[in-house]
C-alpha cells in the first residue's frame, strides 16, 4: 500500500489492556486549569518508569464542567486499578490541590471507583467538609486561597495503551514536522492521549538488552546511525524515525486516532520527505490488541 508516495507497511501495532480514568480539572480561567493539568500529567510518558501514562484530552468550556468554570479534561492510564489509584492520588495531591483556584471532578462513571478526594480530604486537618449532592460526594478542603473542591471518587474503565505508528523520513526535521501535523490532528479526537513530549517519541525501544539489568533498550533496527550494522530495517534514504504512541479509552478510539494521524502524515507525503509508515509490535504474542496499519487506512 502506497499513499501519496508513502509506503504503508504490512504490519500492526501491538497494544495492551490498561485501566484509565478521566478527570476534569477546573480553575478560575483556562490558563490556571492548564497549569494544574500540565503538572498532573507531567512525567507520565510510560508506565515503565512513570507509573502512569497521561495527557490532556481537551479543553472544556464553562458549560461542560460541573462547576461552570473553564476546565481541562485529562486521561490517566496505568497497568492496574490499584496503581492508577496510587498515581491519581499522588498527582492530584501534588499538582492540582496545590494549584491556585483549582477544583477536580470525576469525568467518567466506571463501575470500579478509586479515591479522588477521599484521602486528599485529610489535608484539611479536620476542617474539611463533605457535601453529598445527589449521588455525588464532594469535599471542601480549606486552603489559603479559599476552598479546594474535589469529588470523592472517580470511575475506572478498561482501556487500551500502546497504540503506535512510526514515521520514516528523509531527515529528522521532516519526520518531526510530519509527526507534529499528525499529533495536532489527533488531539482533536476524544478518548485518546499521546503521552510523550509533544505527543512524539524518538527513543523507540525493543524488548531486552545486552545488559541484564535492563528489560528494554534502544530499537537499533530503526536507528539511522546503525544502518550499516546488525539487522537494520532502514533503507539508505531514511534519515530519521519518530514514533507516536497513543493511549485510548477504547480500541475504536485508538483506531480512529491512528487513522487520522497517519492520514495527516500521508498528506505531507513523499514531497515532504516522508517515506514509510510502520508500527511497533512484539510479534503479536504480548499485546491483546493488534492494529493493522493497512486495515485502518483501507
Amino acid at each position: 500500500m502506497i499513499i501519496n508516495g508513502v509506503t504503508i507497511d504490512e504490519t500492526f501495532a501491538e497494544a495492551f489492556g490498561m485501566r484509565a480514568t478521566r478527570l476534569i480539572i477546573t480553575a478560575a480561567n483556562l490558563r490556571w486549569a492548564n497549569h494544574a493539568a500540565n503538572a498532573a500529567t507531567g512525567f507520565a510518558t510510560s508506565v515503565i518508569g512513570c507509573g502512569a501514562e497521561a495527557g490532556i484530552e481537551r479543553e472544556l468550556s464553562p458549560d461542560e464542567t460541573p462547576d461552570g468554570r473553564p476546565g481541562v479534561s485529562v486521561l490517566l492510564f496505568a497497568v492496574s486499578g490499584k496503581e492508577l489509584a496510587k498515581q491519581v492520588e499522588r498527582r492530584v495531591g501534588q499538582c492540582v490541590l496545590t494549584s491556585p483556584t483549582s477544583a477536580v471532578f470525576s469525568g467518567c462513571d466506571g463501575e470500579e471507583k478509586i479515591a479522588l478526594g477521599k484521602n486528599l480530604r485529610y489535608f484539611g486537618d479536620g476542617y474539611q467538609i463533605s457535601k453529598l449532592f445527589g449521588s455525588r460526594r464532594y469535599w471542601r478542603v480549606p486552603v489559603m486561597d479559599g476552598e479546594f473542591i474535589c469529588e470523592e471518587t472517580t470511575g475506572v474503565v478498561k482501556a487500551v495503551g500502546g497504540g503506535n505508528f512510526l514515521v520514516l523520513a528523509a531527515s529528522q526535521m521532516q519526520a518531526l514536522l510530519a509527526c507534529e501535523a499528525a499529533v495536532e490532528a489527533m488531539r482533536k479526537l476524544p478518548g485518546v492521549v499521546m503521552p510523550f513530549p509533544g505527543g512524539v517519541v524518538r527513543s523507540g525501544s525493543k524488548v531486552g538488552s545486552k545488559y541484564k539489568a535492563l528489560s528494554a533498550s534502544t530499537n537499533d533496527a530503526f536507528c539511522p546511525t546503525l544502518r550499516g550494522i546488525g539487522n537494520s530495517e532502514l533503507s539508505p534514504e531514511t534519515g530519521a524515525v519518530l514514533e507516536i504512541v497513543i493511549d485510548g479509552i477504547t480500541e475504536a478510539d485508538i483506531r480512529q486516532a491512528m487513522r487520522v494521524g497517519m492520514q495527516a502524515v500521508c498528506a505531507i507525503g513523499a514531497a515532504g520527505g516522508i517515506q514509510r509508515i510502520t508500527a511497533g509490535n512484539y510479534g503479536g504474542k504480548l499485546g491483546k490488541y493488534h492494529f493493522h496499519l493497512r486495515e485502518i487506512l483501507a
Binding site: G68, Y127, K131, L132, G146, I149
Partner: protein, 270 residues
C-alpha cells in the same frame, strides 16, 4: 400509568397510622384487598375500606384525596413509587422514607421526614416542629434525601440532621439546625431564635440577616464554589428545588457552635 386513589370519606375522630398505604406496599393488590388492610387508630385497628373510598388500579402511584391532619405516618417507610396527597396530613409524614417521591398539596404536622433515608418529599403548605429531626431516643434525624417545604416550618428544623437537604421556602422557627451533625438546610425566609444551637457540622444557608448565637464566630465574606455545585444539583432535581438555588456564591460565613467545639457553618447570602 396506573394509580390507585384513596378518598377519605370523613375526618376520623382520632389519628390513624397510614404507613401501610404506600405505592410499593399496595402494588399488585386489588381494591378489595386494600380495603381489608387494617390501620392502627388509637387502640383499635380499622380496615382501610372503612375510612377510604378506593378506586383505580394499583401501580406505582398512590393518590390520597381529601386528606386531613388526622392521618399520621403517611408514606412512612415507603420504598419506591409516587405518593400524591391532596389536603393536609398529620405527623411523621415520610418518616423513614427509603426511596420514591411524596408530594403533599397542603401542610404537614410534626416530625415530617424524620429518619428519612433517601427520596424526595415536597410539602406545599406549612410543616410543624421537628422537620427532619430525630425522634426522642434517636441520635440522628434525617439520614438523606431531599425535603422541600414551600411554606413555613416550625421549631427545631433539622435537629440532629445527619445527611440530606432541607429547603424551607418560608420562615423557620426557633433552634433551626440545632445539634445538626451534617447535611444542608436552606431557609429563604427568616429564622427564629438561636439558629445552629449546639450545631456540630453541616450547613445552614440563610437568605437574609439573622440573630445568631454569640457562640458562632464570624469568618468573613467569601465566594464559596460549592454553592454553585449546590445550585446546579437543585436545578437538576425539579422546578420546586431549583427555585432554592442560590443566585451567587458570595456569603458571610459563621462557624459554630463553638460552645461545644462545633464546626458547623451558617452562611448568610450577601
Amino acid at each position: 400509568m396506573s394509580q390507585v386513589v384513596l378518598t377519605l370519606r370523613a375526618s376520623p375522630a382520632i389519628v390513624v397510622d397510614c404507613s401501610p398505604l404506600t405505592p410499593d406496599r399496595l402494588a399488585g393488590k386489588s381494591a378489595a384487598t386494600i380495603a381489608a388492610i387494617e390501620l392502627q387508630s388509637g387502640n383499635r385497628r380499622l380496615p382501610a375500606g372503612d375510612l377510604f373510598d378506593i378506586t383505580g388500579e394499583s401501580g406505582d402511584t398512590l393518590v390520597i384525596r381529601n386528606a386531613c391532619n388526622k392521618l399520621d405516618r403517611i408514606g412512612a417507610g415507603m420504598n419506591g413509587g409516587t405518593l400524591e396527597v391532596e389536603g393536609d396530613v398529620g405527623a411523621f409524614l415520610g418518616a423513614g422514607l427509603v426511596s420514591g417521591t411524596i408530594r403533599v398539596s397542603g401542610g404537614a404536622g410534626a416530625f415530617a421526614a424524620t429518619g428519612m433515608v433517601a427520596g424526595t418529599l415536597h410539602v406545599r403548605g406549612n410543616v410543624g416542629d421537628f422537620l427532619g429531626a430525630a425522634i426522642a431516643g434517636d441520635k440522628q434525624g434525617m439520614l438523606g434525601g431531599l425535603v422541600v417545604v414551600d411554606g413555613d416550618a416550625g421549631d427545631r428544623v433539622g435537629d440532629h440532621l445527619r445527611r440530606g437537604i432541607i429547603l424551607v421556602g418560608g420562615n423557620a422557627g426557633d433552634y433551626c439546625a440545632s445539634r445538626m451533625l451534617a447535611g444542608t438546610i436552606a431557609v429563604r425566609g427568616r429564622v427564629g431564635a438561636l439558629p445552629g444551637y449546639a450545631m456540630k457540622r453541616g450547613t445552614l444557608l440563610l437568605a437574609g440577616a439573622a440573630e445568631l448565637p454569640t457562640t458562632f464566630n464570624d469568618c468573613g465574606t467569601h465566594e464559596l464554589m460549592f454553592l454553585r455545585l449546590f445550585a446546579r444539583h437543585l436545578a437538576g432535581v425539579d422546578a420546586a428545588a431549583a427555585s432554592f438555588a442560590p443566585h451567587g456564591e458570595r456569603v458571610r460565613r459563621f462557624v459554630g457552635d463553638r460552645a461545644n467545639g462545633g464546626l458547623g457553618e451558617i452562611l448568610i447570602t450577601v
